[in-house]
């Protein structure tokens, strides 16, 4: 499904997308918290692009590790440790695989989800990125188990992630900075769930 070149290309696309959506993500964050999500993520992914351009990468795991470490050291806030841990856990799950099958990709995402849960001491239903990550992973695993092709699997994932974002509008935040306003966060979509969905959309566009 993916070799190093494809993954590099996708990470570049994700960086561009986050950069384009910087103000939108910041507006979402402003509505319920402190309004830095877009700015921070964009700064982080710009740094990722720069780091990757000169890096010596043998296997996908190296690449994910570098992305994770760069995000941790440049994003800050909550998103830095969360996305950083997610990417580093993907690296751990892949070890020395030279190429990613769809199954490897799902296994790596499983590691990412576990990492975010552990680092954020969080689970679904708390209006966080997990509300997009968990249902999209489950949808992809189900589609994969049914023997669907890469395109159908990723579509199922993106659709579930989008539904997850919609779901975050209906609930109050109980984790993260948005939790401080509790009920007043209802009606707003979660910026982290949104940025995750954007990433998955870029994966789908590039692979399919």
């Amino acid at each position: 499904m993916m070799k190093n070149e494809t993954i590099l290309e996708i990470v570049g696309k994700i960086a561009d997308r986050i950069s384009e959506e910087k103000l939108f993500l910041t507006e979402l964050d402003n509505a319920i918290a402190d309004g830095d999500h877009g700015i921070n993520m964009s700064r982080g992914f710009e740094a990722v692009k720069e780091k990757l351009s000169g890096a010596d990468i043998a296997v996908p795991a190296d690449l994910f590790k570098l992305v994770g470490m760069t995000l941790v050291s440049t994003v800050g806030g909550a998103a830095g440790p969360l996305y950083g841990t997610a990417f580093m856990n993907m690296a751990k799950a892949l070890k020395d695989r030279t190429e990613l099958s769809l199954e490897d990709f799902l296994k790596a995402l499983e590691g990412a989800v576990e990492g975010v849960k552990m680092r954020g001491k969080s689970t679904t239903g708390e209006k966080t990125m997990l509300d997009a990550m968990v249902p999209s992973l489950e949808a992809m695993k189900a589609a994969f188990a049914e023997g669907k092709d890469t395109k159908a699997v990723l579509e199922a994932g993106v659709n579930a992630a989008r539904e997850g974002v919609e779901y975050t509008k209906t609930i109050a935040a109980t984790k993260g900075r948005a939790s401080y306003i509790g009920e007043r966060s209802i009606g707003h979509q979660d910026p982290g769930a949104t940025s995750y969905t954007m990433m998955l959309e870029e994966v789908k566009k590039a692979v399919v």
Binding site: T26, N30, I32, A33, D34, G35, D36, I39, N40, R43, V72, S73, T74, V75, G76, G77, A78, A79, G80, P81, L82, R119, G120, T174, K175, G176, R177, S179, Y180, I181, G182, R184
Partner: protein
């Protein structure tokens, strides 16, 4: 957006450079990044580190110095610093006695400080952490992340810092820090939003005749939006929340009336005129008062009231000498 800046993306770096140039007798910056330490490392004591987003100046770099912090780690504006930055700070100030991290209760701050602690512990540095959550505006329940850490943090810097300076153990410094946290309460209010330089537009909008009660120090929404009213009534409402939350009656307190950055001293003194009277009416004895800019939110017009309940130990530690850019205590007062 109209600000005295150059490029928005350079704000944090240029601010730190300016601070270090202005106060070389107090602080210096590490070469590896935006990490502020005392100009002369103090040994034979527990070292204190704090940090958080920039935009709250003088917090926290203004409190680095004798009797308070050993290191402050500023992140981007309103964004927690990163683990590698905090880790560099911990390494720079570490002593065999250990390092205490003073963290404000925000998800990002806690995660970044925890990651830094894990990294430092791999180097066999003894690290403990306390989390400040003094804001009574937000619910404290198992269903939320808990209360926010705001201006009460400065009292934790002062009291834990004074304890550390006596040569007390990490456990003892941690204990007084925790007891300070348990006895400090704050609530804030804002009349205007503030603009994060990199965002370029205000964090929220509010009518000319409105106020946001219970505002957070990053411009996070508060408990409710109200019509503007005289400051005496605003102070009454803030104190209602604070006094209902912890029993201050009959106690001696330290009180801090803090400007969010855009409130002139004139208005703070007007507010304090009434604040002092209401405290007296409620049998709360003001032992020491602090009025000014301690924990700001860029140019926001706003203020916060903090009360710290004192006992003999906290009184002595509050009185101990401190010499930092933004907080000075000559010591020896009673």
């Amino acid at each position: 957006m109209k600000k005295f800046i150059n490029l928005p993306e350079n704000c944090e770096n240029e601010m730190i450079q300016g601070l270090v140039k202005a106060f070389p007798g107090y602080v210096k910056k590490l070469d590896c990044g935006n990490v502020i330490v005392r100009s002369e490392k103090k040994r034979n004591k527990v070292a204190l580190i704090s940090g958080g987003g920039s935009g709250h100046e003088p917090a926290h770099a203004g409190y680095v110095g004798t009797g308070m912090l050993d290191c402050a780690v500023p992140g981007a504006v309103f964004t927690s610093p990163t683990p590698d930055q905090i880790y560099e700070g911990i390494k720079a100030i570490a002593t065999p006695e250990g390092v205490l991290m003073i963290i404000k209760n925000y998800t990002g701050d806690i995660m970044n400080f925890e990651m830094a602690q894990e990294m430092a512990e791999m180097d066999d540095i003894k690290v403990a952490g306390v989390v400040v959550d003094d804001d009574v505006a937000v619910q404290n329940s198992t269903w939320t992340t808990g209360r926010r850490g705001v201006a009460g943090t400065i009292f934790v810097h002062k009291i834990a810092g004074a304890m550390a300076e006596t040569g007390a153990s990490l456990e003892e410094v941690e204990r007084v820090a925790k007891e300070t946290i348990a006895n400090v309460r704050t609530m804030g209010v804002a009349l205007t939003p503030c603009t994060v330089p990199a965002a370029g537009t205000p964090g929220f909008s509010i009518g000319e005749d409105e106020l946001e009660m219970g505002i957070g120090i990053h411009g996070e929404p508060g408990v409710n939006r109200q019509k503007m009213k005289p400051v005496n009534e605003i102070i009454d409402e803030l104190l209602d929340h604070i006094l209902a939350d912890l029993d201050f009656a009959g106690s001696e307190v330290a009180v801090m009336l803090n400007s969010s950055g855009g409130t002139p001293l004139m208005e703070l003194y007007i507010a304090y005129d009434h604040l002092a009277d209401v405290l007296a009416e409620n049998n709360v004895k003001v032992y020491r008062s602090y009025v000014g800019e301690y924990m700001t939110s860029l140019e926001m017009q706003g203020l916060s009231v903090t009360l710290l309940r004192l006992n003999d130990e906290r009184k002595a530690l509050l009185n101990a000498a401190a010499d930092t850019i933004a907080f000075k205590e000559f010591g020896g007062r009673s």
